[in-house]
C-alpha cells in the first residue's frame, strides 16, 4: 500500500462521472463575475442559481464601499490570529453588533463558519465524560468538530426528536456534559429542523444545544434571526453558530450565546487561536450586510417571493423536490450519472446549480441543488425555469423510451 492508493477508487469513480458528460461539475471557474447572479464561464454568460447568496448582497453598494474603505484604512490582511495581533476594533464591533441583532449577550467571531463550528464543539466538549449527539444530516464541519474534540459522538435520526430522546435516555449516569448539535435549515435538501422540539428534549435531559443557522440566518424568522426565531425559541438556544459566507455576503463565522462561558473559547478553542482572523475588508462587508439586514426586510420578502415562484414552477413540471418552498430547492434525480447529465444540460442552457451526490447527501440521493437569491431578477428566474422546463421535457422523453 502506498500513500496515494487510498485515492484510487474515488479517482476512478470521479473520472467516470466527469468523462460521461465532458464537463467537470466540481471544477467550474467563474471567469468573470457580472453581478450577484451572473458570471461568464468559458465565454458564455451563466445565470447563477447555486451560490448561497440568499439576500444577494455581494455587490451591494454599502458593502462594497465599506470593504473598500476598510481595505484602504486597515490593509489587505490582519496577518495574525484573533488571539494575537488579529483582533481589530472592527472585529470587536461586529461581535457586539451580531450579539445585539440576535439578542444574545456574547459573540465570538471566527475566520469561517467551518471554524466556528469546529472551534465551538472542540472547545466545549471533552473526552472521556462528555458526549455529543448530532443530527445524522449535520454538515461536515459539525462532524469534524466532534472528531477534533475526541469526545464520544452519537448520531440520531434526521429531524427526529424521538430518536434524540431515545439516545439521551440510553446514556449512562457517569456522562457529564451533553451537547446536541442541529441545524436550522439543512443545506442539501433545504428542509428545516423541529428546533423547538429538539431543544425541549435536549433540555429535559440536561443537554446543551448548539444550533447552526448557517443557511437560515437572514432568511427565516420575522427579523431574519433564523429558524429558532420562527419557532419562537431563540432565547433557549445555548450556542448559535453562523457564517458570513451566505446571507452576510463575505467570509467569516461566529458563535453567539447567553452563557458567559462562551468567552473561554478565546483561550481554549484551537480554530480560534491558531489561524489568522478575517481581513478588514471581509469584516467591513459583513458589518455592512448586517446593518442592511437589520433595517431592511424587503430583501427577505423578495427572496421568499422568488423561492415560491421557482418551487411552484418546478412542482408543476413534476420534479421530485426534497422540501417545501424555501431558499434551497433540491430536485432528486435517479442516480449520480443522471444527476451529472442533468447538471450538464442546465449548464448548456446557461444555468449553474450545484450538483450534489453521495456521500455528500442524505440517504444516498443525487440532487441538483438550487439556491434562490433576492437578487435574482425576473429575467433570471425566467431563464432558470425555462432551463428546467427543457430538462423536464428531455427527462420525460427519456423515460418514455426506456
Amino acid at each position: 500500500m502506498s500513500l496515494f492508493d487510498k485515492f484510487q477508487s474515488t479517482a476512478v469513480q470521479y473520472k467516470a462521472l466527469v468523462e460521461g458528460v465532458g464537463r467537470d461539475p466540481f471544477a467550474v471557474s467563474m471567469d468573470e463575475m457580472k453581478g450577484p447572479t451572473r458570471a461568464m464561464v468559458k465565454g458564455k454568460e451563466i445565470v447563477l442559481a447555486g451560490t448561497n447568496n440568499y439576500l444577494g448582497l455581494t455587490f451591494h453598494d454599502d458593502a462594497v464601499a465599506a470593504a473598500r474603505k476598510a481595505l484602504e484604512q486597515s490593509g489587505t490582511g490582519t496577518t495574525g490570529s484573533r488571539f494575537a495581533n488579529g483582533t481589530y476594533a472592527a472585529h470587536r464591533q461586529l461581535e457586539i453588533d451580531l450579539a445585539k441583532f440576535l439578542g444574545y449577550a456574547y459573540c465570538v467571531v471566527f475566520s469561517t463558519g467551518y471554524q466556528a463550528n469546529l472551534g465551538a464543539i472542540s472547545a466545549l466538549v471533552a473526552p472521556p465524560h462528555d458526549v455529543i449527539l448530532i443530527d445524522a444530516d449535520c454538515h461536515a464541519c459539525i462532524y469534524d468538530g466532534c472528531q477534533l474534540s475526541g469526545a464520544e459522538t452519537i448520531r440520531f435520526r434526521h429531524n427526529d426528536p424521538e430518536s434524540l430522546e431515545k439516545r439521551l435516555s440510553r446514556l449512562s449516569d457517569d456522562v457529564n456534559g451533553k451537547l446536541v448539535c442541529i441545524e436550522g435549515m439543512y443545506s442539501m435538501f433545504g428542509d428545516t429542523a423541529p428546533v423547538k422540539e429538539c431543544i425541549e428534549v435536549a433540555h429535559k435531559h440536561g443537554a446543551h444545544v448548539l444550533l447552526d443557522e448557517a443557511h437560515s440566518f437572514g432568511v427565516f424568522g420575522e427579523n431574519g434571526r433564523g429558524v429558532c426565531e420562527a419557532d419562537g425559541v431563540r432565547d433557549q438556544v445555548d450556542f448559535y453558530t453562523g457564517t458570513f459566507s451566505k446571507s452576510l455576503a463575505s467570509i467569516g463565522g461566529f458563535v453567539a450565546s447567553n452563557h458567559p462561558e462562551l468567552e473561554y473559547l478565546r483561550f481554549s478553542s484551537r480554530p480560534y487561536m491558531f489561524t489568522a482572523s478575517p481581513s478588514p475588508a471581509n469584516i467591513a462587508a459583513a458589518s455592512a450586510a448586517l446593518a442592511r439586514i437589520s433595517t431592511d426586510n424587503t430583501m427577505r420578502e423578495r427572496l421568499w417571493e422568488n423561492a415560491k415562484r421557482v418551487h411552484a414552477a418546478f412542482t408543476q413540471l413534476g420534479f421530485e423536490i426534497c422540501a417545501p418552498a424555501g431558499p434551497v430547492i433540491a430536485v432528486k434525480l435517479a442516480d449520480r450519472q443522471a444527476a451529472c447529465k442533468a447538471w450538464d444540460f442546465l449548464m448548456e442552457k446557461g444555468v449553474y446549480v450545484n450538483l450534489a451526490i453521495p456521500p455528500g447527501t442524505p440517504n444516498a440521493t443525487s440532487i441538483l441543488r438550487l439556491s434562490v437569491s433576492a437578487a435574482h431578477t425576473n429575467d433570471d428566474l425566467d431563464a432558470i425555469i425555462g432551463a428546467y422546463t427543457s430538462l423536464s421535457e428531455v427527462l420525460t422523453k427519456e423515460a418514455a423510451q426506456a
Binding site: S9, A136, Y143, C146, E152, T153, I154, R155, R157, S163, K166, R167, R170, L171, S172, P358, P359, N363, A364
Partner: protein, 87 residues
C-alpha cells in the same frame, strides 16, 4: 472461515440483511468482508446501516467506534460488546 459461528450469530445475520440491499456486486458476505473495500459502501451509508442496528437492539454505537470498524466481523463484535455494556 468461521462458518459455524456465523450461522449461530443472529447479529451477523441481522447485519447481512441490512447490507444486502447495498451489495450491488453480490459479494458473498462473511465476517472478513470489508464494508468499504469489498462492498464499496460509502462511509455515510455505513453510518446509516448502524443507525438501523442501533434501533433494532436499542443501543447507541458511537461514531468514534464505527470509524475504526472495517469488516462485518468487527461490527458484529462491537455490537456484542456494546449490548453487554448497555444492558
Amino acid at each position: 472461515m468461521s462458518g459455524i459461528q456465523e450461522d449461530d450469530d443472529l447479529v451477523f445475520h441481522k447485519i447481512c440483511s441490512l447490507i444486502e440491499p447495498l451489495n450491488e456486486k453480490s459479494v458473498k458476505l462473511s465476517r472478513e468482508t470489508d464494508l468499504i473495500a469489498d462492498l464499496e459502501i460509502d462511509s455515510v451509508s455505513v453510518l446509516d446501516i448502524v443507525m438501523d442496528i442501533e434501533d433494532n437492539y436499542d443501543i447507541s454505537i458511537p461514531v468514534n467506534t464505527i470509524s475504526e470498524i472495517k469488516t462485518i466481523g468487527e461490527l458484529v463484535d462491537a455490537i456484542h460488546a456494546i449490548k453487554k455494556e448497555q444492558s
